[in-house]
């Protein structure tokens, strides 16, 4: 689990991270990357501020990873989430799961992103054109609803 207040390249991060896994063991990796769009609900988004609860956010993300590792036979699972000011096109979140087979990898990755959206204390505020701002509402009903 990592919170990053600077932009990061999710694909470069995955490439680097995989070098730390034992080669030839993980037959499957499923990854999800969420990025900031430059439009939302019909409005142009100029910037986003991602607020979090320092301490609790990390704890909740670690809990999700622990739960995923308990629920599926994973070789590893990771989450990287941006916090602070984010520009359109930048990565907001990366979730990834490695397993021997594709089923657990895909299911665990989906679990991580759905439950992260349901549980992790993070809040998005969009800066729209004309200096107006709005807090984003609505998120996910969790993995059970998928």
């Amino acid at each position: 689990m990592l919170l990053s207040d600077a932009p990061f390249d999710p694909w470069a991060w995955l490439g680097q991270f995989e070098k730390t896994l034992p080669p030839g063991k993980a037959g499957a990796c499923a990854a999800f990357v969420g990025s900031l769009r430059d439009f939302n609900d019909g409005e142009e988004v100029q910037e986003m501020f991602l607020e979090h609860y320092p301490g609790m956010t990390e704890r909740e993300l670690e809990k999700l990873l622990t739960e995923a590792r308990r629920r599926w036979p994973l070789l590893d699972a990771r989450i990287v989430h941006r916090v602070g000011r984010v520009q359109p096109g930048e990565t907001l979140v990366l979730a990834a799961a490695w397993s021997t087979h594709r089923g657990p990898a895909c299911d665990a990755c989906r679990f991580l992103i759905e439950e992260l959206k349901r549980r992790a204390p993070l809040w998005k505020r969009e800066s729209l054109s004309g200096a107006s701002q709005r807090w984003v509402s609505g998120n996910s009903d969790g993995y059970a609803a998928v």
Partner: protein
């Protein structure tokens, strides 16, 4: 000692402050803490809360030295 109360996101803006400290006397639950800082009003139904950085409920007990967080539904990811 006292109870540290923290607010996040739109609630932080509505409250006009990110945190405050309350004397713990007479406060026994999360809902009680909320009432103490909101002129006796009940907690809004969709408001989330945490005690010592663990998700809690209005009836969760609080004690001297605890940190209580209040925040709107989360929107990360």
């Amino acid at each position: 000692m006292s109870i540290r109360v923290r607010y996040f996101a739109s609630l932080r803006e509505t409250m006009g402050r990110a945190e405050e400290s309350l004397a713990a006397e007479g406060l026994d639950t999360v809902a009680g803490v909320w009432k103490a800082v909101n002129r006796g009003l009940p907690m809004p139904a969709n408001l989330l809360c945490a005690v010592n950085m663990e998700y809690a409920r209005p009836e969760t007990p609080v004690k001297d030295g605890d940190e209580v967080g209040f925040f709107p539904p989360v929107t990360g990811g």
